[in-house]
């Protein structure tokens, strides 16, 4: 996966609560056996009308949302299904970070494995971001800081291991495979 150190981008804002992974990518797009090109299915039922034309009222269809690498969403983003197709679709679409007041556990875990940085902020910070779609932010993963459009800098929590993996584009499988001897010893000792 692509390493993340600094993300500088305008924000796309989706001010809806409890955005579930069925909305992020509807189930009919899960019949694939690879992960390529899922960005086309991102938010498919919100992005497109029944005729396939983009819906003018959907936030990510606004001109300012194009090319944004940072998604600001309402509370409890990514709830529901465990489908990793959700972060695959978000990353394929161009997002590198998602900001909310709460991010669902399985989605968060999946995001971390795909170079998508999940950032949880407090309610006042969230409110400022929601109020300023398209405004520029800067994320510094090494410093764990988020610079808001008005220049105010806030810190965000992320555990050291996840941060290390994201910054170096390392996947966890290598770490686990390196523990093979410990796993064998443990299995034998049961």
């Amino acid at each position: 996966m692509e390493p993340i150190r600094v993300v500088e981008s305008r924000t796309a804002v989706l001010p809806r609560e409890n955005v579930d992974t069925d909305q992020i990518i509807p189930a009919r797009f899960l019949k694939v056996t690879d992960k390529a090109g899922l960005g086309r299915a991102l938010f498919a039922d919100w992005r497109y009308g029944p005729d396939g034309a983009p819906r003018a009222d959907f936030e990510l269809n606004q001109p300012g949302a194009e090319g944004c690498a940072v998604l600001v969403a309402g509370d409890n983003f990514g709830c529901g299904s465990s489908r990793e197709h959700a972060p695959w679709a978000l990353v394929d679409f161009g997002f590198r970070a998602v900001i909310s007041t709460r991010i669902a556990d399985i989605f968060r875990s999946n995001a971390l494995k795909n170079g998508l940085l999940p950032i949880v902020v407090d309610a006042p910070t969230h409110a400022r971001l929601l109020a300023a779609p398209g405004a520029p932010v800067r994320i510094d993963l090494e410093a764990c800081t988020l610079t808001l459009p008005d220049g105010v800098v806030v810190t965000f929590p992320i555990d050291g291991f996840s941060r290390h993996c994201l910054m170096n584009g390392v996947d966890e499988l290598g770490f686990l495979l390196a523990r093979d001897a410990a796993i064998t010893t443990w299995e034998e000792g049961r």
């Binding site: 009919r28 019949k31 529901g80 523990r179």
Partner: protein, 470 residues
């Protein structure tokens, strides 16, 4: 003094968590299905890895599979070539990597969370994972069971382990006893409504108290299954005699002296008296009515005799906006009773409510009555289907004018061609009422098998207790 969760967690830590690294947690049972596994097998091939413990891995197919029987030409009526290819890929992967597969048409096939327990593979004290959020179901046996993503499916295939941070614990104490016509599904919906859809985030739930002790294994599975709908990755019930009686004699359960030894170990699993939780809530089961959802997440549920909430009563602007949006999508009017809402389709099945007891409950309502609307009854597994047919439930369903299908996830996730049309309303025994979950533009009301069957015979939202009196 440790909780049930702590005992199971501690018993599977290969290397402990540190400030810098998560714990390496051993997985006893890995369940695999066609939708969330293909990309994981691709990673194994790319890296030249084998499956570390094929004997701890069981695969079946359920999401993309047709629920209509094989055609006269011997072919399965897949929704499209992509679904057929996905199922075929699982067969290839299992053959290549030596994994036990319960394929379409075979007697062990069914919804992954129905077949694991019924073959006795899910046992108390185990860690169980699957690339599916409803893996929480297996917690009914006192296992620590949770859903994982496809990358993690690859991790478990290759190493039999996962990297995990220890979650917090949440006790849900259920006092009293459920009344007639009120089921585990209603209890679960009431708990989710109380916690909120994100309320369990970061926690493992333990369901406790006399009402939970009084539940059958199948009811406990329904309860644990829905833990994820409150945001909790796992839900657990301490194993007891109900658990052991249900497991005894199942194909993968221990036998003879090994069984006695296993039961002795399992009896040590319940939390120690005085063990504490990070959070606790209490709910009184005896005050509950049948529940039904009105909105677009499982926390938006009300008692069947209740009224659709009014956004004007919601103080928080963001929550008000969510509620307004949900009611608009659902085509429901604030303040109106939910009873009498017209329904177009009824779905009875899924990993939440597709077991034998669920079908028996539905049959209680359908027996001697006729459905007013399209009604699909989909057994959770081939074993459930055979057992139901042995009792004549298929006959009751068909005589009522409902469809009796082959096992699978079916209209819960609408990947296999079983779906509702835009604008249609479906009372469903499944687990998610998200927008479009049962078909683009479709509207879902989640309820128990009794309530769903009551809607089937009346054509509208109805109180099953009243329908059964007629």
């Amino acid at each position: 003094m440790r909780t049930l969760f702590a005992k199971v967690w501690d018993g599977h830590v290969v290397t402990p968590e540190t400030v810098d690294t998560p714990a390496v947690l051993y997985v006893d049972l890995h369940l695999v299905h066609e939708v969330t596994s293909p990309q994981a097998f691709t990673v194994l091939r790319e890296r030249g890895l084998r499956v570390r413990r094929p004997e701890r891995t069981i695969a079946t197919m359920d999401h993309s599979t047709p629920t209509l029987p094989r055609g006269a030409d011997g072919r399965w009526p897949f929704a499209d070539s992509q679904a057929a290819a996905q199922v075929s890929q699982l067969e290839t992967n299992c053959a290549e990597f030596g994994i036990e597969l319960h394929a379409l048409g075979q007697e062990g096939q069914g919804i992954v969370h129905v077949v694991g327990p019924e073959m006795g593979a899910t046992q108390p004290g185990m860690t169980v994972v699957c690339g599916d959020s409803h893996t929480a179901t297996h917690g009914a046996f006192g296992a620590l069971a949770f859903g994982i993503g496809t990358s993690e499916v690859g991790h478990v295939l290759a190493t039999q382990c996962l990297l995990q941070r220890r979650p917090r614990t949440l006790a849900v104490n259920v006092d009293g006893r459920l009344g007639p016509g009120v089921s585990a599904k209603d209890l679960a919906l009431a708990i989710i409504a109380k916690l909120g859809v994100g309320g369990g985030t970061g926690h493992v739930i333990e369901y406790r108290g006399p009402a939970v002790r009084g539940l059958s294994m199948e009811a406990r599975m329904t309860l644990c299954n829905l833990s994820i709908e409150a945001g909790a990755r796992a839900g657990m019930v301490a194993p007891d005699d109900t658990t052991f009686q249900w497991l005894a004699g199942r194909r993968k359960a221990p036998t003879g002296a090994a069984w006695d030894a296993a039961v002795a170990t399992w009896r040590t699993l319940p939390g120690d008296p005085g063990a504490t939780f990070d959070r606790e809530i209490t709910i009184d089961a005896s005050t509950l009515e049948p529940m039904i959802t009105f909105g677009t997440n499982p926390g938006q549920a009300i008692p069947i005799g209740g009224r659709v909430p009014d956004p004007a009563d919601e103080a928080d602007p963001s929550a008000r906006g969510s509620l307004e949006r949900a009611l608009k999508y659902m085509g429901l009017q604030a303040g109106r009773p939910i009873l009498g809402t017209p329904v177009d389709v009824v779905f009875i099945g899924s990993c939440t409510n597709g077991r034998l007891e669920d079908l028996r409950e539905a049959a209680r309502v359908l027996r001697g009555r006729t459905v007013a609307i399209r009604t699909l009854v989909v057994p959770g597994s081939q074993a459930v289907k055979r057992a139901a047919e042995a009792e004549g439930i298929d006959r009751i369903v068909r005589d009522a004018g409902a469809e009796w299908r082959e096992p699978g996830c079916s209209m819960c996730i609408a990947m296999n061609g079983d779906r509702i049309q835009a604008g249609q309303t479906c009372v469903s025994t499944s687990n998610r009422n998200f927008e479009g979950r049962q078909g683009t533009g479709g509207r879902t009301l989640l309820a128990s098998p009794l309530t769903a069957a009551a809607a089937a015979v009346t054509g509208c939202v109805a109180d099953p207790r009243r329908v059964l009196e007629r």
